[in-house]
Amino acid sequence: MNTAAQRSAPFAHAPTSIQNTMSTVLLALIPATLFDAWLFGWPAIVMFLTTVGSCLAAEAACLHLGKRPLQPTLFDGSAALTGWLLAMSLPPWSPWWISVIGAIFSICLAKHVFGGLGQNPFNPAMVGRIALLVSFPLQMTSFIAPRPLMSAGAPGLGESLAIIFGGHANLDGISAASALGYVKTELSRGIPVSESASHVPNLMDMAMGMHPGSFGETSALLILAGGLFLLARRVISWHIPVAVIATLFFMGSVFSAVDPGRFTSGSFQVFSGATFLGAFFIATDYVTSPVSKPGQLVFGFGVGLLTWVIRSFAGYPEGMAFAVLLMNALTPLIDHHIRPRAFGRTRKGDPLPVKGE
């Protein structure tokens, strides 16, 4: 018998696979996606499809260039998920070239130069989003107010194609700031948070999604539901999301209690922006987060803290994506230093002492 064909135990395997995992995550995103598609209308749907399509095309192109088979990899759902999450983090009416450039950054530069699935140290979707944000701050901060499908004034399919592909949206006319962006701009001209916060949608509206923002970040409650679904299916564990949200809430609450004119409240931090999307779907990306549970807690804490720091002090209104990338960079060091305690050993790795010796 050929020994090379031999393999060692085990000869049993759990019914798990990459495809299973990825499709569960996609499934969890569907409710929020459908809601947002309704909320922002046809142009958003066209934008969403363009983004996912571009990511799949980029994946196929990279596989082809690397002379690798398309078969398992293109359809394992990871590229679709990257595209999906990228679309969720873009302004809903972004023009086609935003989607395409984002896909090139996400899939080609953040994923395939490192060797493809599983090898990338940085979250591809977030690399795409940030490269776009830094390159096209205007387009990437021009959000539209909700304009539900079938409502008066909502563009039809043909008009939507023109908006996305023809560059015919007069963004100046319809754009609105996200809550975080609004508060930040107001603060920059000396208007205290306590005052500007009263002009943003109330928490209930924010949780429901009735406010301007990125395609997928608006409906906090549906994202939360998707996240809980992932938790229930054990695709993700609670460590990262809980650490992110708790840290953000804590920092917000403490600092807004100290200086309400300067800092927004904990619940504002949690319900605005991409907190839930980030905590449940983005910070939890397996590939770019630590593998051990304690490591994940540290990672989540870091994401929460950095998000708060960037939101509160830095030039950008939203910090989740940056925070995730920054903690991605720290992940190898976290993995290096925070390991589970080995059986029969101390935390430092020395054998436990024998009693009586």
């Binding site: 450039i101 530069l109 490269a131 830094v134 390159s135 096209f136 701050p137």
Partner: protein, 223 residues
Amino acid sequence: MADSYSRIIKDGLWENNGVLCQMLGMCPTMAMTTSATNGLGMGLATAFVMATSNLLIAALRGYITQEVRIPVYILIIAAMVTLVDLSLNAYMHELYKVLGLFIPLIVSNCLPLGRAEVYASKEPVLPSFLDGVFMGLGFTASLTVIGACREIVGSGTLFADAHLLLGPVFSFLETRVLPADTGILVVVLPPGGFLATGLLLSLKRILDIRAGKPIRLAGAHSV
């Protein structure tokens, strides 16, 4: 001898190019390549310093002892840089206004010192001088190419402001490649510097593979 001169030229410009192969002088490579013009200017100034400092070091090396060699080399390089700085300021003021900011930084560029250590401290005067010239020109070429790539993708122009550096005659170089305001801004920001250099290095690798040369996969300076 002729053979070794052609070797010096080839090494400097391509085979052992300061940026692409030795990966020295990365700081100006990143910082000064937001446009082709900047890259060119920085490269030329560096080339001048390298040529003169290599010349001086090779000429004076008999007097330099091992223990103080680094300070002496640096002293010579720094003196050359200051010389360039002062004379440009006085006599070629327009050029100085473009380059002014980054001339002092040539002192801390690893490449001149690297060549001093590796080449000028061991070889005769003329080859050392030529080594300085061609290493400098190779450096200039890399910077210009990287600058051009970043400028085209990032701002949609090529050789913008070339007339400030090279005189009004060269304003024909200034081109607009993409429509105004369509550049991908990251490319001219810090991340773009690293990205462009990384991609250029892999481009060189493709060419090397095509040419059938062995490629080096290890870290930048593994000895």
